[in-house]
């Protein structure tokens, strides 16, 4: 099995190489076969490895493979090597399996596009980079994947590059995440400086003995790494790039900006959890960042009108839940939410893509409506996804993962009632906007005519994901309901078990509250947005409500803030100095000499009288000096 590891990222890489070099001369079917085929085979290999892993766990609970020595100098050496343990296995399963479904969907979705080959080339490269990110056994390989997914995200957001807005969105995504990445690489330098290695296993082993809990160094390291994670995972204050990233094709949003890349930060923190556990401050920061983000993004999701932007804000918000879970010390709960979220959010994006495609690229949900009977497959699958997002109790995957997070937000070692309350509020908001989305898009009057229905190739992945959005949660039940802890047992090979505080309320009470709040959210959504309801119109009369609505709509005005504080001054300074102030020094030396030559050449006028006078004056001056000195 060890030797198969390299094949997993190598297959999509091969797909990328073939498509980028020969793709323009290939038929569309061949392109789709290579693009989707490579990821599909990789998914099959992953499943084979996973089965093997479960049946006969390898020594040390990990497979590893060293490919070649990347660099070695002084005391530093770094191999190009891969390592798969339980945590990475969860991630590579999602990346390849959901990735393969999305690739199949894209084969039909992107078919009319001129740059079919470029699309699949970039998608394959993304899958490869994402796999390296989670499979790297040292932080340098991880950083390679980390930057690689950033590049692919940039390429795919700006896929339709002829519209300037798309390019701006792509650039923004790259810039904002690069700031996080730079913090992260400084964290790497600091780690190397302290421990003398960047191998993940060694770091985790050494850190416990090398760092004292809560020391400055470890806090710095943890915070710097987390900044990297926050950038990629679009957490406050780096969240601004993700809504704009919706400029890319819908499958891109499903794969990169919902299922995989935006959870890179979650992976990083889970992977490096011993470092975070050594720094209570970093843990608190993680939890608070998650909590604030889920609320801020949730409020924005409530008022968006673009179907993809709703989903984008909802993604930010759900990743916020994952950060919250990690920060409270409930690592396995965070990863479990990543697992279920990958299915239902990818599903929602793909289904949204199908809707948009059928309605002449209409993004505004208020111009949709009545699609329930027109697009039944999309409707039922979307319903499954939205129910999972709203965490409809017991029958959706989202419930099982989110319920855990809510419970641990109060009861885990690092949790507290305040975090729980924010998460609960977030759950209410999530249920509300999920209901709103469903009702506005699928019920009511038909506002735009449906021209074409998605084909089998597109609906099949939707159905698979819909089934998983419902059932994926059953592998991990709340302890008090049913003793099924398959998922947490598995990832807790790597991650620490969640320890509870003292003096916490009964779990069943908390669950009851969560269920009631969720149902209340769904009901509020229904009350506000059911066909024929005038409640929203009445609310819009109030300036106060509209003020908040617009503020949320703009994403809490973060874009304006950054524009004023960072972008404008930077552009102003660089534009001011375009001609390079240092060049002035050189040109003034040149013009000074020229001026001097002009003055002196006045004396060189060819008139004898002037020369005689000059000589005389000179003689007199010299004599005077002689006399007086």
């Amino acid at each position: 099995m060890n030797s198969l590891l390299a094949l997993i990222p190598a297959l999509p890489l091969a797909g990328f190489l073939v498509l980028s070099m020969a793709g323009r001369r290939m038929s569309k079917s061949a392109i789709a076969a290579i693009g989707a085929g490579t990821v599909g085979i990789a998914a099959i290999i992953v499943i084979a490895i996973a089965i093997q892993f479960l049946q006969a766990p390898p020594a040390g609970n990990a497979y590893s493979q060293t490919l070649w020595q990347w660099m070695r100098t002084e005391n530093f050496s770094c191999d190009f090597s891969l390592r798969v343990d339980a945590l990475s296995l969860v991630f590579i399963f999602i990346i390849t399996f959901v990735g393969a479904l999305i690739h199949i969907y894209s084969a039909a979705f992107m078919r009319p596009d001129r740059d079919y080959a470029r699309f699949f080339a970039s998608m394959n490269l993304f899958v490869c980079a994402m796999l390296l990110l989670v499979m790297g056994d040292n932080l340098v390989v991880m950083y390679l994947g980390w930057e690689g997914v950033g590049l692919c995200s940039y390429l795919l957001i700006g896929f339709w590059y002829e519209a300037p807005a798309n390019c701006h969105a792509a650039n923004k995504a790259f810039y904002v995440t690069r700031i996080g990445d730079t913090a992260m690489i400084i964290g790497l330098f600091l780690l190397y400086n302290e421990l003398g290695t960047l191998n993940i296993e060694s770091i985790l082993q050494l850190s416990v003995s090398q760092f004292s809990t809560g020391s400055n160094t470890i806090t710095w390291i943890a915070i710097l790494l987390m900044l990297g994670g926050m950038g990629k995972s679009a957490q406050l204050p780096f969240q601004t790039w993700l809504p704009d990233a919706m400029a890319g094709p819908s499958p891109v949003s499903a794969l990169i900006h919902a299922a995989t890349m935006v959870t890179a930060g979650v992976y990083l923190i889970a992977r490096m959890h011993p470092l975070f556990q050594l720094s209570p401050l970093a843990m608190d920061v993680t939890a608070v960042v998650g909590a604030v983000t889920l609320l801020v993004a949730g409020c924005s999701a409530m008022v968006q009108t673009d179907i993809k932007r709703i989903l984008a804000y909802s993604t930010i918000s759900q990743v916020g839940y994952m950060f919250l879970a990690l920060g409270t010390g409930a690592f396995s709960a965070g990863i479990f939410h990543f697992f279920t979220h990958a299915f239902f959010k990818a599903l929602l994006f793909l289904a949204a893509g199908a809707v948009i495609e059928s309605l002449h690229h209409e993004h505004n949900i208020f111009k949709m409506g009545g699609l329930k009977n027109k697009m039944p497959v999309v409707f039922y699958t979307f319903l499954a996804g939205a129910a999972a997002l709203a965490a409809l109790p017991l029958i959706t995957a989202g419930f099982f993962s989110k319920d855990q997070i809510l419970w641990y937000a109060w009861s885990a070692n690092n949790g507290n009632p305040m975090l729980w309350f924010v998460a609960l509020l977030g759950a209410f908001i999530t249920a509300l906007y999920s209901t709103r989305l469903m009702l506005v898009v699928f019920w009511g009057d038909e506002k735009t005519h449906v021209t074409k229905l998605p084909g089998r190739l597109m609906t099949a992945p939707l159905v698979v994901l819909a089934v998983l959005s419902v059932t994926a949660g059953f592998i991990e039940w709340p302890h008090n309901l049913l003793h099924v802890t398959f998922f947490s047992d598995f990832v807790q090979q790597v991650l620490p078990a969640t320890s509870l505080r003292d003096g916490i309320p009964e779990e069943i009470i908390m669950q009851g509250i969560a269920v009631v709040v969720t149902l209340l959210g769904i009901y509020s959504g229904y009350a506000l947005y059911r066909p024929g309801s005038v409640a929203v119109d009445q609310m819009k009369q109030s300036d106060f409500v509209m003020g908040f609505r617009n503020f949320f709509f703009k994403g809490w005005a973060f874009d304006e803030l950054y524009h004023t504080v960072f972008v404008r001054p930077f552009v102003y300074i660089t534009q001011m100095n375009r001609a390079d102030v240092f060049d002035r020094i050189n040109t003034s030396i040149a013009s000074g000499s020229r001026q001097l030559s002009k003055w002196l050449s006045v004396s060189q006028n060819g008139s004898l009288r002037w020369y005689v006078a000059g000589v005389l004056i000179g003689v007199i001056v010299l004599f005077t000096l002689q006399l007086f000195l």
Binding site: T73, E74, N171, I185, F189, N586
Partner: protein, 489 residues
């Protein structure tokens, strides 16, 4: 002896080009190509031969004959790992320079290739000379033909750029000459034998203030070439006005002679004085990183933009050298090689764009990906190289430099690392203005020809190999780097 051949072949090839160019201008490019390919083959043979031989000591090959014995100068060439790496780069880029001029140069081709080959000879000489008089001689040999390349085959403002280039470099060169003479006389007075030889000058006893001033002479000459902010102003003009091959050689090779000079002469001859100014040198390096990147972001002329990115990237070199750490110094050597390739590639692309669109103004470009997807792809790769994407060579270089420098000076390293953010700003802006966005050119432009594909394929393979498997280069220069670093203790 083979070392002398390397240079002599270039000199003779250049003369042949000039002579034959009078009768048959078409054949000279073949002569030039043959000349650089011969040297490339020679240097590659040396690389592979030396790999198989167990060699003790850092000096792999040595060649010395008397030149002007009464002055104490000899024709002394020697090759160590660093020179070898730089020579491979020289002839690799030299070959590309000849191929990329194939169609661009239509006037006075004989004289053009003469200048090109002689510049290369000067550069090869600089990388090999171990006699300071000879070094100075080669330093001038590489300058004068370059001046002609810019002044004759350059763009509209070529005279100004050529003068500026000449005056800056020559001012530095003269300071270096004074320093060389000072060293020569002090050493002669101490030992009784007057010699310009590197190894005898290496042991000169200097009192600290003399060492400082003499070192400054060398250092100024080298940092002008590097270039270091604020002595960089010759570079944007020279790069943007020079013909494509000129920009390629300037960015890819000439700048590296500055870094090479510091590593070869300044650190070993003046270890204490260099250590004294290390903080300032690093600070100026960091200033260059940030300042160059900000200037690059504001440019509208594509070649000026790339030129300022060189200023930024060379700041890493200065920072890494004066950290006096093996890892950082390894990164410096990698940066010299990878910057040569990646920035060279960007200048090649700029040249191809200019041939097609007859402008260097990025405001007049846009959406070129549509008509030139292959060139767009290559351009994407090299903009990524310039912003330091892992898997490409530049990342290895900057990573090693920064990680090596970190323990020496944390605040400066952190500021330098922020340069990575700035590099993203200018790189993506370049990409967006030229290849992305709405299509602005009226007539569809032709994508790369087979010849251009060949050029770009070779640099692509180069930058990928260096990014994924840099170890051969790191191994080759390890001894040199260790010596340079330990010299200080």
């Amino acid at each position: 002896m083979i070392l002398a051949y390397i240079i002599v072949i270039l000199l003779i090839g250049g003369l042949l080009c000039w002579l034959i160019g009078r009768w048959n201008p078409d054949i000279v490019k073949w002569i030039a190509l043959l000349t650089v390919l011969t040297d490339l083959a020679l240097i590659s043979t040396i690389w592979f031969m030396l790999k198989s031989l167990p060699i003790s000591g850092t000096w792999l090959l040595d060649f010395q004959v008397n030149w002007i014995p009464s002055f104490g100068t000899s024709f002394h060439l020697a090759l160590d790992g660093l020179s070898l790496v730089m020579l491979v780069l020289t002839f690799f880029l030299g070959t590309l320079a000849v191929i990329c001029s194939w169609k661009e140069i239509k006037q006075r081709t004989g004289f053009y290739y003469f200048n090109l080959l002689w510049t290369l000879a000067g550069i090869a000489g600089v990388f090999l000379a171990l006699d300071l008089f000879l070094f100075y001689f080669f330093w001038e040999v590489m300058l004068v033909p370059m001046y002609f390349l810019i002044a004759i085959w350059g763009d509209s403002n070529r005279r100004y750029a050529a003068y500026k280039f000449f005056i800056f470099t020559q001012a530095g060169g003269l300071l270096m000459l004074i320093s060389i003479l000072a060293l020569y006389f002090i050493n002669g007075a101490q030992t009784g034998t007057y010699s310009y030889d590197y190894f005898s000058l290496l042991n000169t006893q200097l009192d600290p203030s003399a060492a400082k001033w003499i070192m400054m002479g060398f250092l100024v000459a080298f940092v002008i070439k590097l270039p270091m902010v604020p002595l960089h102003n010759w570079l944007p003009d020279a790069h943007s006005e020079a013909p494509t091959a000129g920009s390629l050689i300037l960015a890819g090779l000439l700048l590296k002679t500055g870094a090479y000079g510091i590593i070869r002469f300044v650190l070993p001859i003046f270890p204490a004085a260099a250590a004294d100014i290390s903080w300032w040198a690093m600070a100026f390096g960091v200033l260059g990183i940030v300042y160059g990147a900000m200037l690059a972001f504001a440019q509208t002329d594509i070649k000026r933009l790339i030129a300022y990115t060189s200023v930024s990237h060379m700041g890493f070199v200065l920072l890494g050298i004066f950290a006096f750490r093996e890892m950082a110094m390894q990164g410096v050597v990698m940066q010299m090689v990878t910057h040569g390739i990646s920035t060279g590639a960007l200048f090649l692309l700029a040249g191809m764009l200019k041939e097609r669109l007859h402008t260097r103004d990025i405001g007049k470009m846009g959406g070129l990906w549509t008509s030139m997807p292959a060139m767009g792809g290559v351009a994407m790769l090299f903009t990524m190289a310039s912003l330091g994407l892992p898997a490409l060579g530049s990342f290895i270089a900057e990573f090693l430099i920064l990680m090596g420098t970190f323990p020496v000076n944390i605040p400066l390293t952190v500021i330098a690392t922020l340069g990575l953010v700035l590099s993203a700003f200018y790189s993506l802006r370049l990409m967006q203005k030229v290849f992305l966005g709405p299509v602005t050119v009226e007539h569809p432009v032709k994508d790369m020809s087979a010849r251009e594909m060949l050029i770009m394929a070779s640099v692509t393979i180069g930058i990928l190999l260096l990014g994924l498997y840099p170890q051969p280069v790191l191994d080759m220069v390890r001894d040199v780097v260790q010596n340079a670093v330990t010299m200080r203790q």
